[in-house]
Structures are given as structure tokens and as C-alpha cells.
Subunit: 195 residues, 2 copies
């Protein structure tokens, strides 16, 4: 993908790298946000990204203007980023992007996200991850139980999921414009059963 | 309830008022957070409060220490504060406290929260509000469809729900210590059906 910069704003090498990193991550998140807004508008599902958790330390209350947070720190989230409801079912997922071409590194996921998805799945929620391969511009929905198998296999030394496995075991989502990432049809709503 | 201040930190009159307001709101929220942690620990449900949405404007990245947000503003949430999964069902609710004794003011709720709960209910999610009467130390679960009737009746001039109606139409939650607010048994899981 060619990034076009506004006149005179072309970043230096260092900045460029940061901008590209930022754009790539942002791009997938923005595509998903647009998809979720589209689903909401159509009445197909209600799925939102959770706000970034911040530890607020200091807030100023200036007269006649909005309260301003002047000191806050990023906190580790205790859940995944996305959840909501689709066809009466609880949906919970994490979305991650990689520039890798041949595998998806498991370091993209954190212990607490895995623990959260395990807990939700035990309650009958439908849990999965959306994996975005930016170099291929392809998105796969991988059910949590499959991810979890690979997650546990990390003890045996495997630190990533081969692309070929994801192609085989995941379900590919249509990438278009309305919505950008059409992941809804790839959710198996009959899968989540409360035990 | 008596508030005890650390030595030398007793606030002035103005500050005191803010502290008390803060504590009262905080108290109900904290009780709910503890209840949710208890449910999670017991494996009964996975319900979390969403982080406060902030518009982050400026972040400092000091060397050798954590990134620090130095300018951010509170944003209006587009959803309710709480959601999660219970017995395979999507649960969505807003929790509000009042010091009123005879009614619950509807101004505690916002248009976007009502719109969000309508959308979730249409998807078969279970939506309700938890109403805390701080003077009575009593908590009621009121199903969204009942709240919505009162919400719409605001056009006729009624701006609050009488306490007697809440006692009759709501379901009271046990207030104890483990958990503080035991709202889970008052959720009617068979109510949410996808249309």
C-alpha cells in the first residue's frame, strides 16, 4: 500500500517508520470500528471496542471549560478489546495484526486475554481472534479453542501459528468496503453452548 | 457513614462536599466491581465495567519510565458501563445511584444509553438497570422494557420513577458482603430471545 503524505509533511526516516507502524495498527482497528458501526446501523449485531483503560491520577477542573486529565497512565486491560451481542449470543474477541507473511506470532496475545476468553467460553460465550496479515491484506477468524491449543503448545517451543494452519483451521473474512472486514458471517453462533 | 481522613488531610468545606459526592457514587460502583470479581472467581458469570472513555490528546514518552498521558478529556460513552456473559446470554446494564427516597430521577440516564440498550435487546441481549437508593441501602434490578416505558412517558411530564413502582415492578437484589450486591439471581435468563 502506498502512503501519500500531504504536501510538505513527508516524514523523515525515523518518523516514517513510526507513522507506518501507527498506520498499520490503526488501519485494522479503524476498519473493524467501521465494520462494527455498519453492523449496528444495519441492526445485524451490537459490537463495540472497549475504551483504552487508563489510570487517572490528576484532573484539572478549569472554570467554564471541560475537565482536563493532566496525568494518567496506561493500564493493562483485564479483558479483550471487543465484545457484544449477535443473534442473542455473547461475542468476545481480540483483533491483532502482523506484518509477518508465514506465521502469526503468539506474543501478540497476553495471558490475561487468554484467561478472559477461557472464562467467557466456559459461560457459553463465543470467543475468537481476528488475525490480520497486513502484507496479504487477508483476515482470518480463528476460534478460541484452536488458538488455545497453539497457546499451550508454546511450552514445547512453538511461538507462532503457521500461516498454512490458519488458512486451514481459520475462516477467512471478506475484505471489502462496506463493511471493510466482514467477519460476522464467519461466527458460528451455534457453537457457544453453556455447560 | 463516617468518613475518616488521614491525619492532616481533612478537606475544607468545598472539598468535603466533592469528596462525599465522589464517595457515594464510588461506593456503589465499588460494590458492583467487587460483586463482579466474586462472580468471576466463582465461575458464575463474566461481567466487567468498561473503562472510562477518554479522548487522549497528548502523551509523553519519558526515557526509562512509563508513557504518561498529559492531556486528555472525558468523552461521552456510546454504550452502557457494564456488559458480559451469564449462562450463555449477553448481559448489558447501567448502574445508577440516587440519594432520593421516593423516586428515581430519569435524568440519571442518557439518550445514547437508552438507544444502546434498545439495540442490544433487539439482538436478544438481556438489558436492565441496577438502581441504588443510597438512603435505604436497597438495590433493585429493573428490566429495560419497564425503564423504557417510563423513559417515553417523560414527554407527558413524568421525570422520575416512583419508588413504589420500582418496588413493585423491579426485583430487589440481596445486599450483603460476599458479594456486596447479589444481582445475578435477579436476571431472567430466559427473557432474552433473539427476534
Amino acid at each position: 500500500m502506498v502512503i501519500s503524505y500531504p504536501k510538505g509533511s513527508r516524514p523523515t526516516t525515523v518518523e516514517k517508520k513510526q507513522v507506518q507502524y501507527g498506520r498499520r495498527g490503526m488501519q485494522f482497528e479503524e476498519m473493524l470500528n467501521q465494520s462494527n458501526a455498519y453492523y449496528l446501523e444495519k441492526g445485524w449485531a451490537v459490537i463495540h471496542k472497549k475504551p483504552t483503560p487508563l489510570q487517572i491520577v490528576k484532573v484539572d477542573y478549569p472554570k467554564r471549560s471541560a475537565a482536563k486529565v493532566t496525568e494518567a497512565y496506561f493500564k493493562e486491560a483485564s479483558t479483550t478489546d471487543y465484545n457484544g451481542v449477535y443473534k442473542g449470543k455473547y461475542i468476545d474477541f481480540e483483533a491483532k495484526a502482523t506484518k509477518n507473511k508465514t506465521s502469526f506470532p503468539l506474543k501478540n496475545f497476553h495471558e490475561h486475554q487468554i484467561a478472559h476468553m477461557r472464562a467467557c467460553a466456559a459461560q457459553g460465550g463465543i470467543c475468537f481472534v481476528l488475525l490480520w496479515f497486513s502484507q496479504w491484506k487477508r483476515c482470518f477468524l480463528l476460534d478460541f479453542d484452536i488458538l488455545y491449543t497453539y497457546w499451550q503448545a508454546q511450552n514445547d517451543g512453538r511461538k507462532s501459528i503457521p500461516f498454512a494452519d490458519i488458512e486451514k483451521k481459520g475462516r477467512e473474512c471478506l475484505v471489502g468496503t462496506r463493511p471493510y472486514i466482514h467477519y460476522l458471517p464467519q461466527i458460528q453462533v451455534d457453537k457457544g453452548e453453556h455447560k
